[in-house]
């Protein structure tokens, strides 16, 4: 779900700013502690790979994800001056919160997951789907923060997402728009001055 906001944000951004301006604007993006993000992604990927092989990781997998989340939140906070980052922070925090109170796993409602492949629903019910997800039931705390929003046609992807995901993607979208489109205005002003 993280990618949707980025993809849509980029598409709209390029439409508004144009190719060259958009690329220039993107190349000028500076985020404090920006390197942490790829490291976090790599860690996540590594955890996913090693999950089945290393028992230590299997046992504490949920908490390790929590650590990854906390690091991500930290990077967001130090960048809070950037437009849209508060939204991203709020979204991630909401997701973090619901996972924290539910043993490190994101609760997924069966109802919402029914838009997905039926196999997935079965796996969810049997309780051994993935490292990150769990079925939402009566024991779930703060269920309304879980993955309860079904995304399906006409949206091009089929997914179950949480409100935190939505808020986070709104933030990403706002940030990209601001970074790309405002840059364009600045450039066009500059060009005008040159012509004069």
């Amino acid at each position: 779900m993280v990618y949707d906001g980025i993809v849509i944000g980029l598409i709209v951004g390029f439409l508004r700013a144009g190719w060259r301006n958009g690329i220039t604007a993107l190349s000028q993006i500076r985020i404090k502690g920006g390197l942490i993000f790829p490291i976090l992604l790599a860690t996540q990927f590594l955890l996913y790979l090693l999950h089945d092989n290393v028992s230590f990781i299997q046992q504490y997998n949920g908490y390790m994800f929590m650590l990854v989340y906390a690091a991500g939140l930290y990077v967001l906070v130090i960048n809070r001056k950037e437009k849209g980052f508060w939204w991203i922070f709020a979204g991630v925090a909401l997701n973090f919160l619901v996972m924290l109170v539910n043993g490190g796993k994101m609760p997924v409602s069966v109802e919402a997951a029914s838009v997905l492949d039926p196999i997935y629903v079965d796996m969810l019910k049997s309780g051994d789907v993935s490292t990150k997800h769990a079925m939402l039931d009566n024991s779930t705390v703060l269920p309304f923060l879980g993955d309860i929003i079904p995304l399906t046609k006409p949206y091009p992807r089929t997914q179950a997402i949480s409100i935190g995901d939505v808020v986070m993607n709104v933030g990403i979208f706002i940030y990209l728009q601001h970074a790309m489109a405002s840059r364009k205005m600045g450039l066009s002003l500059l060009n005008q001055n040159n012509i004069d």
Binding site: S109, E111, L136, P143, F144, I148, I149, P150, P154, V166
Partner: protein, 616 residues
């Protein structure tokens, strides 16, 4: 801190806000308390979607011309929620949306968020009560509940208008009826469509859940966007209509509109207000010499000067038409306005511009008339008329001056026509010798004052005043070379100059009704001791008014700059007249003239020192 809070709270508008908020929150709590949110997951999805819809529509707030009331279409979401899911869920959506909006728009002061929230709570609760009272039930759209829908919409609208109307009533004072009426007339259609859309949304939401809402949202955004464009366009067009493209100043019609507003404001605040009419001097001459494009440039240049001079002081400057400009000066009494305008006039005079040599003054200049608007004056057109009259008085005095209405000498109406007629004749000097023109104007002004001072009436007054205006008309016949000669005149040339009194006599005698002015023209160079020209008349042989005119004429000649003469100060000139009393001038009249002028000078001096003291 608390004391200040309390005293703030006692202002009606804050008291009102406080109670609306208090009651709104109490009502909200009392209803939600019994019904803690316990929604199914699909309800939650719906709630999220509606909160998002509200926030997006709020973000797309648009304004309706002409007054710019801000409207957003979020009301249709609340109403649809109310009709489809009931009061509790609607209030819950409202609360969530309010919290997010509070966190997002931190620029808005916190109690306005609260007020907004409470107002919506009232609106939702009232319309919910009416809805169920008329038998409406939650759920899908039902045609049988049509009356319930319509009354709920109506009450929603009424409560909204009342809450907003009361707020503005307390904030701006005025009458509730007027405020609500103004509000209604502007927004009623936009509001109606918002409310009707809520029914559309009910139909869509029940059948297609979130997708229905999404579709609605898209329509709402597009509509809001269009309204925004409309408002933007409206503003741009008004801006264009209100400004004059040539000069960048405001337009005539906008000036009239604003004048009313400024007058009302000054009446309410008890502050002085001055109106200034400006006319560029001899603009036509410039236009004729260089063509209209150049003339337009001059207008633009002058307009920019007016603008840059007036804007920092908060003055309203407009192009009244042609080369006429008008300035509204709130907070300026007439004397302040005069000193402001004189300073500006000097600045304009000193600013170089291409082609100013065609102007008689050799620079860009203007005449201005000032009117201080008193509390009793109501009629706008009369005001402009009066300021215009002061402007024409300034023009008549030889231009490049500023005049205050009521301070130019008043003329009896009978004389006025004759003066106008002779003025036209004297005007011919403008093409030939501007010095003679201005001299005639000044001598005329002195004559007016003397006539007043000596209490001359009827024929005497007429003879003096009109004679003063026309006395040098014979100089038309003197060749330019002689008139403008800077070195001393030869004997022959002097003989020609002397002849102007006879030529003047001939010119004046063409018009029968001005026959009585002939002695004034003919004899204003006679001397009391008989050594003058043309006839060498002596003492009482010279008509009295001509004797007086001769004094004034000489006084002005001494005190004005002329190419072949050095300028005397007023007191030096009076001394000279005193010295020549009995030889050149009638001693009695000379004494009277000196007496009058000295009184005037000491008055002016006193005014200057008084002003100086004031400055200290």
């Amino acid at each position: 801190m608390i004391v200040q809070w309390y005293s703030n709270l006692r202002k009606p508008v804050y008291t009102y806000t406080f109670f609306v908020c208090l009651w709104g929150i109490l009502l909200f709590m009392s209803i939600q308390y019994h019904h803690l949110p316990d929604y199914s997951m699909s309800d939650w999805v719906m709630i999220y979607s509606m909160v998002a819809a509200v926030l997006i529509l709020e973000h797309y707030t648009f304004q309706i011309p002409p007054e710019g009331h801000r409207l957003s279409m979020d009301s249709s979401v609340y109403l649809a929620a109310l009709f489809s899911f009931g009061t509790n869920l609607t209030l819950f959506v409202l609360a969530l949306a309010s919290v997010v909006s509070f966190m997002h728009n931190r620029a808005i002061v916190w109690w306005k968020h609260l007020l907004n929230f409470s107002a919506y709570t009232f609106m939702i609760l009232c319309s919910s009560a009416v809805y169920s009272w008329f038998g409406g039930t939650t759920g899908a759209f039902n045609l049988q509940h049509l009356t319930a829908y319509l009354f709920a919409l109506f009450i929603y609208f009424v409560v909204n208008s009342l809450i907003i109307g009361l707020y503005y009533l307390l904030l701006y004072k005025g009458r509730l009826y007027e405020i609500i009426k103004g509000f209604l007339s502007d927004v009623v259609f936009a509001y109606l469509s918002t409310l009707l859309l809520s029914i559309v949304l009910v139909i869509m939401i029940v059948n297609n859940r979130s997708f229905g809402l999404f579709l609605f949202l898209a329509i709402g955004m597009v509509l809001s966007h269009l309204f925004r464009q409309l408002f933007k366009m409206y503003n741009e067009v008004t801006e264009k209509a209100n400004t004059d493209l040539r000069t960048g100043l405001y337009s005539h019609s906008y000036f009239e509109e604003k004048l009313d507003e400024y007058m009302r404001q000054s009446r309410e605040q008890g502050q002085p207000l001055s109106l200034v009419m400006i006319d560029l001097d001899d603009f036509k001459k410039y236009n004729d010499a260089f063509g209209h494009p150049k003339g337009d440039k001059l207008l633009g240049f002058f307009g920019q000067m007016v603008k840059s001079h007036c804007e920092p002081k908060g003055l309203f400057a407009a192009r009244y038409g042609g080369e006429e400009f008008a300035i509204i000066m709130p907070g300026f009494a007439k004397e302040q306005a005069r000193s402001f305008m004189d300073a500006f006039r000097k600045q304009v005079n000193d600013t170089p511009f291409e082609g100013v040599e065609v102007f008689p003054h050799g620079c860009v200049s203007f005449s201005a008339g000032i009117l201080e608007i008193s509390r009793e004056t109501y009629d706008k057109s009369q005001l402009i008329d009066w300021a215009d009259r002061a402007l024409y008085a300034a023009k008549a005095k030889g231009k490049n001056t500023v005049f205050i209405y009521g301070e130019e000498s008043r003329l009896p109406p009978m004389l006025e026509n004759d003066i106008y007629e002779l003025e036209q004749q004297v005007k011919i000097f403008l093409y030939k010798d501007v010095y003679t023109y201005k001299h005639s104007k000044r001598v005329f002004a002195y004559a007016m004052e003397m006539a007043e001072y000596l209490k001359l009436r009827g024929e005497d007054r007429r003879q003096l005043v009109l004679g003063a205006l026309i006395h040098d008309i014979g100089k038309l016949e003197i060749p330019r070379d002689i008139l403008n000669k800077k070195s001393k005149l030869t004997g022959d040339e002097w003989e020609i100059v002397k002849k102007h009194v006879l030529w003047g006599k001939e010119i004046v005698s063409v018009t029968p009704k001005f026959k009585d002015l002939i002695p004034m023209v003919e004899f204003h160079h006679e001397r009391f001791d008989g050594k003058g020209y043309p006839n060498g008349l002596k003492g009482e042989e010279i008509p009295k008014q001509a004797r007086l005119l001769s004094i004034i004429d000489s006084f002005d000649a001494m005190t004005t700059e002329r190419p072949y003469q050095e300028t005397k100060s007023y007191s030096d000139a009076l001394q000279e007249i005193h010295r020549c009393a009995g030889t050149q001038f009638d001693p009695e009249l000379a004494a009277q003239f000196i007496g009058y002028m000295e009184g005037k000078l000491s008055e002016a001096e006193a005014a200057v020192t008084a002003e100086g003291d004031h400055d200290d």
